[in-house]
Structure formats: structure tokens, C-alpha cells
């Protein structure tokens, strides 16, 4: 049981570290590199560096609002 916990923990830390390094590279280092360097192939166009986090934030906010609304509706139905 603790092995599964360790595996999930390792997976989460790995995902977070890779996302952090990828995003740092994308936003900070890439604008300094000349446009015909080969490393630009591995990164999406720079507009996506803004779109993807904003989209994720908006999706998270929507999900939170829906969840809160759903819980409020369910509690009101149970009381009535």
C-alpha cells in the first residue's frame, strides 16, 4: 500500500518538475534564442504559452463554481 503511495508521489513530483522546467524554458529562455535554432521545434508557438495556463485557470474556476452550485442545490433539495 505504501508502495502505491510512493509511486503516486513520485509521479506527481515528476509531472510538476517537468511542467515547471518546460514553462520556464518556454517563457524565459526561448525569446533569447535565434529563430532558426533547432530547439524551437520542440516548443509550441509562444501564444500557446499564455493561452494554455489561462485556459486551465478559467476551466478550474468554472469547475469550482459548478461544484459549489451543485452542493448548494443538493443541500437545499434535502432540506425541502
Amino acid at each position: 500500500m505504501d508502495l502505491a503511495d510512493k509511486a503516486v508521489g513520485l509521479l506527481l513530483s515528476g509531472i510538476s518538475l517537468s511542467v515547471f522546467t518546460y514553462y520556464t524554458f518556454w517563457v524565459i529562455i526561448l525569446p533569447f534564442v535565434d529563430t532558426d535554432h533547432f530547439v524551437h521545434k520542440y516548443f509550441l508557438p509562444q501564444e500557446y504559452a499564455i493561452l494554455i495556463p489561462v485556459f486551465a485557470l478559467v476551466a478550474l474556476l468554472c469547475f469550482l463554481c459548478m461544484f459549489v452550485g451543485y452542493v448548494m442545490l443538493k443541500s437545499k433539495k434535502k432540506k425541502a
Binding site: M1, D2, D5, K6, V8, G9, L10, L11, L12, S13, G14, I15, S16, L17, V19, F20, Y23, T24, V27, I28, P31, A49, I50, P53, V54, L57
Partner: protein, 89 residues
Amino acid sequence: MKHILKILALLVAISACWIGLLQVSVIPESYTWLLPLYFIVSLGCYGILMVGVGLMQFPTCPQEALLLHQDILEAKDFLKNKGVDVGSN
């Protein structure tokens, strides 16, 4: 109420720093526009990292689990002798 005021003051201070950074063009402007978003993403990453590290270092105490199982068996036997219905689950 005071707590909300403190958080709002912190937010205003951070936005003032950001706008100041925009005016003083030490860093290229495109960077300054992306800086708040970068900090939000890195904060989320840091949160997930802390959760992952905490999961990996969670102590399970197998000896305590064994002792607890023995305690449960003892308690069940004791209660069954006294006539209480424990029912296995």
C-alpha cells in the same frame, strides 16, 4: 474583516510593483507582461511538488498497524463475551 484587508493590501502592493516594473524598462516589456502568469503557474507547480513529496515521505508505521489489529481482536472477543453484538465487517 482585517484579514481580507491584509490580503487586499498585499495584492495592491504586488500590482504596484508590477506596474512599476513596467514603467522602468529594465526588463524587456514582453517579459513583464508574462511575469504574473509565470508566477501563478510556478506557484501551482510548487503546490503539486509539495503534495508529491509529502506523499512519498508519508510514514506508515507497520508495527503500530499490527498492534492495532491485535487490540481490535482483543476488544471484539471481550465484547462478544459480554454479550454485545460486534458483527464482522
